[in-house]
């Protein structure tokens, strides 16, 4: 269970959670620079990582 944890009956994969943090932080940094923000962008990033479409950091 080193890389897994349980929350609300859902098994959280810590690696995936970290990948999300990285992607969302990248997005937020860009967002801070451009003064824009979109929840949809963050939703997409979370969903894509869970769906396995991407789990590595890449520049948006």
């Amino acid at each position: 269970m080193g890389n897994k944890t349980e929350k609300n009956g859902i098994t959280i994969d810590k690696n995936r959670a970290n990948a999300m943090i990285k992607r969302i932080l990248l997005y937020e940094r860009t967002n801070i620079k451009t003064h824009t923000f979109s929840q949809t962008e963050i939703l997409n990033k979370i969903q894509k990582i869970i769906e396995g479409e991407c789990d590595v950091i890449r520049k948006d």
């Binding site: 859902i10 959670a17 970290n18 967002n31 620079k33 929840q39 939703l43 979370i46």
Partner: protein
């Protein structure tokens, strides 16, 4: 990040092209620009704001040098521009902002176009011009606007910050600066944007997921599943029944066919039996008729034979009766009871009295003997009439009897003939009964088949209805299942969002507390260097700064009434503190480096920073700041400058002076032999 140079063209006091090359020497990181009052020190500080962000705080918004305007001819065009050269990670950037003016009358020139902004990038000798959005991004990335108050500031800004410190409450400027310079802004932003697990609004990520999740669909879907199962069981039972009925229908059909076959075999026997029954019926009818004839003969004989036989003596009897007078003695229509009534009344209808044993009495009694009901006369009269009638009827009696006897004999022959015919056909009544029984059975079987057919139709109709319901419910269930699948997904996404929000909040809180603690230590150290010992600066969680005096005897910290110099020292300490931390933050390789923004070292550009301080403090500041910031640019008035020059001597890389040529034009000159 290093500022390399700034080029000004016709910008306010600076006529033509004028350049300041900033010192890039790590050990001599100070660029000192002297200037007398009105020479253009503040203009130079403002030049950074304008080139980077397109903003300035001049009251007169005309940026073109006044002498240039004077020299321009009507409809001449002149450009105002500033170029800022920086180097970042071995890449050179040139930020350029310009605007065109045209002379429209003797005194003034007007803008003829909007401001133009561009960033060109020089990497390994290749120069490219960046697109507008990328150019804006580079500005934000290099020198963020929201932090500009902390690395480019002048006396006015110091006064504003000082006022905030006096109020004991900042407008969160310090907090933002700390988070921004130390790379925590993105983390703070992500926590805010993710929201809390209870958020329901659409302006947070978790709120959006909460809105997406439809908690009722799961139970509804289960309900549909249960009902579908219920209907499917019913359909299954009905289908079993249909199959059983079908089998029964086949059985009955076979039974009917078999019965018809049996019946066909019996039918010829049955026909013979019918013929036999016909003869028997005829014989039976003849027997009835025969009996009737017998009865008629006897009746005729009984009725008419006595008269016939009396016919010979009748005349004698009639003669005797005529001779008897009893008929004459009677009174017609008077009965014995009438006489009895008169005797009882003792008075006759004629009014004569009737006494017992009187003549009248005796006459009446005698008359009574000839009166009905015991009247012989009446009987004789009746007998006579009847006898006359009998005698008259007795005339054809023999002929009548003879005829009837003949008919009776014929009927008897008929009976015998029919009976004989019937006897000639063998008795097959058993077969007839059997045929009847079979027919009844066929009728029964057909009735059962009809019942089954009706039942099958009803069952099929029910099955059809249920199948339709199942189809409809299944469609609804599928929709709900889709929602449920979506829910499960959204719940998973939301849980991840909550998890990362909680994780980042925990890291952020820990890191921010640590940062504040470090900041407090750092600014206290710097403050001690700049100002004096015996005072303590504390930073609360809102980044409000409080100064207290430390009593060396008991260590108590008491709040202190502050002077302007103290406030300025605090600001210097604060700004220097966060710039130093940013610099160290950059050097330090953090364990969880992904959480922190890649902070750049920032220059410190200060306009008239030393005006509020005495020589002693100027000395302290001059000795402290060069070690803290990566690059320092001071715009300083000549009086302060001389003191600063004395204390900063070893750290000054480049020195410039602004020479005031006219009231409206100055020239920047580099000082040699620094």
């Amino acid at each position: 990040m290093l500022l390399e140079k700034i080029e000004l063209e016709n910008f306010r006091q600076f006529k033509g092209k004028q350049t300041i090359n900033f010192s890039k020497d790590e050990n001599k990181n100070i660029t000192l620009v002297f200037g007398e009052n009105g020479g253009g020190k503040t203009t130079l500080a403002q030049a950074f704001h304008w080139v980077l962000y397109g903003e300035n705080e001049f009251n007169d918004k005309n940026l073109l040098n006044c002498d240039v305007i004077k020299e321009m001819q009507y409809n001449d065009y002149k450009k105002v521009s500033i170029k800022l050269f920086i180097k970042k990670k071995n890449i050179g950037y040139i930020f350029e902002r310009s605007i065109k003016y045209a002379k429209k009358n003797n005194k003034e020139a007007r803008k003829v176009d909007s401001e133009q902004f561009s960033v060109s990038k020089t990497e390994q000798g290749n120069q490219t011009v960046l697109e507008n959005r990328e150019a804006q991004n580079i500005v934000q990335e290099t020198l963020p606007k929201e932090l500009s108050n902390f690395f480019i500031f002048d006396g006015e800004r110091i006064r504003k910050l000082s006022a905030e410190i006096d109020k004991g409450k900042s407008d969160n400027l310090f907090g933002e600066a700390v988070r921004g310079l130390l790379g925590l802004t993105a983390m703070q932003s992500i926590i805010k944007h993710l929201g809390k697990s209870t958020s329901t609004g659409t302006n947070t990520v978790i709120g959006r997921y909460n809105k997406k999740i439809d908690s009722t669909s799961l139970s509804q879907s289960k309900k549909y599943s249960e009902r579908i199962q219920e209907y499917q069981e019913k359909i299954k039972k009905c289908e079993c029944k249909l199959s059983e009925n079908k089998q029964a229908e086949i059985t009955y059909k076979k039974l009917v066919l078999d019965s018809h076959e049996k019946l066909n075999q019996i039918i010829p026997e049955e026909d013979l039996q019918k013929e036999r029954e016909k003869y028997l019926t005829l014989a039976s009818k003849s027997e009835k008729r025969y009996d009737n004839f017998t009865k008629e003969i006897l009746s005729t004989f009984n009725k008419k034979a006595p008269a016939f036989f009396l016919k010979a003596i009748t005349p004698m009897v009639m003669k005797e009766l005529q001779e008897n007078k009893s008929v004459e003695k009677s009174l017609p229509d008077i009965q014995q009871r009438t006489i009895e009534l008169l005797i009882d009344r003792k008075k006759c209808v004629c009014g004569r009295e009737i006494r017992e044993n009187s003549e009248e009495y005796k006459t009446l009694r005698e008359l009574q003997q000839y009166l009905p009901p015991q009247s012989i006369a009446s009987s004789i009269r009746q007998f006579t009439t009847e006898t006359k009638s009998h005698i008259k009827n007795a005339d054809g009696v023999f002929k009548e009897l003879e005829l009837k006897m003949k008919k009776r004999a014929t009927t008897f022959e008929e009976i015998k003939t029919n009976q004989q015919k019937a006897d000639n056909i063998s008795d097959t009544s058993v077969s007839a009964d059997k045929a009847k029984h079979i027919r009844l059975q066929i009728a029964e079987y057909n009735k059962k088949r009809d019942e089954i057919t009706t039942e099958q139709a009803q069952i099929n109709r029910k099955i059809g209805e249920w199948q339709n319901s199942v189809k409809q419910m299944d469609a609804k269930r599928k929709e709900l299942i889709l929602v449920d699948k979506e829910n499960q997904k959204n719940n998973e996404y939301k849980t991840y969002a909550e998890y990362i929000s909680e994780k980042l909040t925990s890291i952020y809180k820990k890191e921010e507390a640590k940062t504040r603690e470090t900041l407090e230590d750092t600014i206290n150290k710097i403050f001690e260097d700049i100002y004096e010992g015996g005072m303590h600066l504390s930073v609360d969680d809102k980044y409000n700064i409080k100064v207290s005096i430390t009593d060396p005897t008991n260590g108590d910290k008491n709040t202190l009434e502050r002077s302007t110099a103290q406030n300025y020292s605090i600001i210097f300490a604060f700004i220097a503190g966060i710039i130093q931390m940013a610099k160290e933050n950059k050097k330090e390789k953090k364990e969880d480096s992904i959480y922190y923004d890649e902070s750049e070292g920032y220059p410190l550009i200060m306009d008239a920073p030393l005006s509020a301080f005495d020589k002693k403090r100027i000395k302290n500041i001059c000795e402290t700041l060069p070690d803290i910031a990566q690059q320092i640019i001071f715009f300083i008035k000549d009086t302060d400058g001389k003191v600063a020059q004395t204390y900063l001597q070893d750290r000054i890389g480049t020195e410039y002076s602004i020479k005031k040529d006219t009231l409206t034009t100055s020239t920047i000159e580099e000082k040699k032999n620094v």
